[in-house]
């Protein structure tokens, strides 16, 4: 067996390194590490059981949804070389379609907000996924002949067009052939009620009551249950992409990534493979849009789907290393735990220990205090800027990776594109060969 090539595996003692090579150990190990960090922060902040569980729930939720998106980007970029930076566009198409389809028909609308087509939610979800896939097809068809970078520009522009279209006042509410529906424009649209929460509000109520008797807030039950549903989708996506990449289909995708012209000269209709890979990914993104943006908060606005979100998803992939599903998940755990949520955690600690909570000083005040020998106000100011810190941290991580490990933490891991274990077949052959050679010499 080859020695571990990632920076963590290399530093482990041999006995542990062998375990580390297992995908599940890698993922759960990293997840455990981040959990422990968060629990420790929770301890520092004096969280009770509810607080701790809720902080982990939020963390897990973000890891799972970013993980699904990063896996799709890995299918597109890591396996097929398709530079898709329009990820949010396909999510938006999915969730808007499902929402508009499932909104109650005009007149039967209890809330008085935007009407739709009154289609049952499961069918509406299928509709949203299909719409995202179809849009992926439409976006890819004319642009697949373009080189990587131009393809990237097209997908980015596409996502912006989608966002601006949904934002446009023209489409806020329209009536076509007697059907009234709309996107809600810039104000957004109420989506649909989350079936998981509905379940625990009705049939599942006894479960919630049982948990509450243990002294924990009942909200946690539906919250965690929803996270587990999303986790199911993540595992499904992982399985789908792992299966796709370990097959003749995945082999052609890898060939396209390495050298499209050469692959074409080997009797492969490369455009068809690229389109199929792209559309499959877009369908998953459509579903993700529905369950993440649509189901979690019950309300969507076009500005949820800004390019920044796409870039965060890409960074999660880059940290782990494109071309490896396991690396993608580990990268996502680290990205969400450290870069995305890290600054907020640090801020809470600073808040707690520096004090002055509630009154955040301005930058000049902070400087003035610093000149007077008091560090606290400037610290408080700096760590109050969580979203800015996130971007700064992202930049630092990217520069570090670029210099030290451009392939990502697990990017040079080899995931062989075949449905059978080639390594075992080769070993077998070699064993047979040397036996034959041995008997010859006797």
């Amino acid at each position: 067996m080859s020695a571990p090539s990632d920076p963590i595996g290399r530093r482990l003692p041999d006995s542990a390194a062998a375990y580390w090579e297992r995908d599940l150990v890698k993922i759960l190990g990293t997840l455990g590490f981040v959990y422990v960090l968060y629990l420790f922060v929770g301890l520092l902040l004096g969280y009770d059981l509810f607080g701790q569980l809720n902080s982990l729930r939020r963390l897990t939720f973000l890891i799972v949804v970013y993980g699904i998106a990063a896996l799709v980007v890995n299918l597109h970029w890591g396996y097929s070389g398709l530079f898709n930076i329009g990820v949010v566009g396909f999510m938006a198409v999915g969730v808007y379609t499902a929402t508009i389809l499932s909104r109650p028909v005009a007149g039967q609308n209890p809330t008085g907000s935007l009407p739709g087509f009154g289609i049952p939610l499961p069918i509406a979800v299928v509709g949203g996924v299909l719409a995202a896939a179809a849009t992926g097809y439409a976006a890819a068809l004319p642009s697949l002949r373009l080189r990587d970078d131009y393809f990237a520009i097209v997908t980015l522009a596409f996502a912006e067009i989608v966002r601006i279209t949904f934002k446009s006042a023209e489409l806020q509410e329209v009536t076509v052939l007697g059907w009234t529906f709309g996107t809600g424009g810039g104000r957004g649209i109420r989506t649909f009620s989350n079936p998981v929460r509905d379940f625990f509000d009705t049939t599942g109520q006894p479960l919630v009551a049982a948990v509450e008797r243990l002294g924990v807030d009942g909200q946690l039950v539906s919250g965690w249950a929803f996270v587990f549903v999303l986790l199911g989708i993540l595992i499904g996506t992982y399985w789908l992409i792992a299966r796709l990449s370990a097959s003749p289909f995945g082999r052609v995708l890898k060939g396209i990534r390495d050298d499209e012209e050469a692959t074409q000269s080997l009797a492969k209709h490369t455009a068809s493979f690229k389109i199929r890979a792209f559309v499959i990914g877009c369908a998953v993104l459509g579903l993700l849009g529905i369950v993440w943006q649509g189901a979690s908060s019950g309300y969507i606005t076009p500005d949820r789907f800004i390019p920044e979100l796409t870039f965060f998803i890409w960074i999660a992939l880059i940290i782990g290393g494109a071309g490896s599903n396991t690396g993608t998940i580990v990268g996502t755990i680290l990205f969400v735990g450290m870069v995305l949520e890290g600054p907020a955690q640090v801020r809470r600690i600073v808040d707690e220990f520096v004090g002055l909570s509630g009154s955040v000083p301005t930058f000049p005040d902070g400087l003035a205090a610093l000149a007077g020998g008091n560090v606290d106000p400037i610290l408080l100011y700096v760590f109050d800027q969580t979203s800015a810190l996130r971007v700064v941290l992202t930049g630092v991580v990217l520069i570090w990776l670029l210099k030290r490990r451009p392939e990502g933490l697990f990017g040079d891991r080899r995931e062989v594109a075949s449905s059978i274990d080639l390594e075992a077949r080769v070993e077998e052959r070699r064993g047979r060969g040397s036996e034959a050679a041995g008997s010859d010499s006797e």
């Binding site: 289909f249 390495d258 080997l266 449905s419 080769v426």
Partner: protein
């Protein structure tokens, strides 16, 4: 498809064209201009079945462009490519290669981040697992795997034939120049091609490996394959090819046996850099 009388003449006047046998691959009056620069100006020749045919000519004669046009990477402005009696002009590389006309590149184009075996198992056409759903669904994946076992067997045999089976699990990007050439040829053969277009297969290959490679080409020819190879080493061409096509300034200058070509005045002039009438 307009063919200028001039280019017609360039083809038919050449000694030995169509001499005996029937060509498995024919090109007639190929013309191609890139933004005002004429790359091909009436290229016509035939490649007979089961031969090693050399395509030679000074730099810029249009050899690589001819390969690009024949394989379908570039569409010609005029002219016709016939393979196995069928017009394949303008068919894309994936179509020409699946019909059995496969090319290799001047600079070996390995799929660098894939292992040697993955490279070898890529080409076979119509693999069941190339349909995404068959590779995913539990009910159909078994069939995909069965077929992959067969593809693996073939790939392994081919690697053994080229003596690179010890590299099977290496990444192709880690191979030496000569090994890449071997892999590229072995990979092309996975398509079971009738005709192979080899663009400088011996460039950067050490003499003993070159000898080895030539033996294998001759072996494969004897088993019924046809090779058209671009090569700069005149001695090698003259010694091993049954037929030689000489190109100059985008045209076919001479076609014939090595002896015929060697004694041809115009070839010597072309190589000395003169304007050939």
């Amino acid at each position: 498809m307009s063919r200028s009388p001039e280019s017609e003449a360039a083809g038919t006047d050449a000694p030995g064209l169509d001499g005996g046998g029937d060509p498995v691959l024919r090109v007639d009056g190929l013309e191609k201009t890139f933004e005002g620069v004429t790359a091909l100006d009436g290229v016509s020749f035939g490649v007979e079945s089961e031969t090693l045919t050399g395509l030679i000519g000074p730099n810029g004669a249009g050899k690589s462009t001819t390969f690009n046009v024949v394989s379908g990477a570039i569409e010609p402005d005029a002219g016709r490519v016939t393979f196995d009696g069928e017009d394949i002009t303008g068919l894309k590389p994936n179509r020409t290669s699946s019909r059995g006309l496969v090319r290799t590149f001047q600079i070996a184009r390995e799929l660098e981040e894939m292992t040697v075996l993955e490279n070898m198992m890529l080409p076979p056409t119509n693999q069941r697992g190339e349909a995404a759903w068959r590779s995913i669904l539990p009910g159909t994946r078994g069939g995909v795997q069965d077929e992959e076992e067969e593809v693996f067997e073939r790939a392994w045999e081919m690697l053994e034939f080229f003596d690179i089976d010890h590299l099977a699990l290496e990444e192709a990007g880690a191979l030496s120049g000569g090994q890449r050439k071997l892999l590229e040829l072995a990979r092309a053969l996975m398509l079971d091609p009738e005709v192979l277009l080899l663009d400088e297969p011996f460039a950067g290959v050490n003499p003993s490996l070159e000898r080895d490679l030539l033996d294998r080409l001759e072996d494969l020819r004897d088993r019924g394959r046809t090779f058209l190879l671009v090569e700069h080493d005149m001695d090698l061409i003259m010694e091993h090819c049954e037929r030689v096509i000489v190109m100059h300034q985008g045209r076919t200058l001479v076609t014939g046996t090595p002896e015929e070509v060697r004694s041809e005045e115009r070839v010597i002039e072309a190589y000395l850099g003169g304007e050939v009438s």
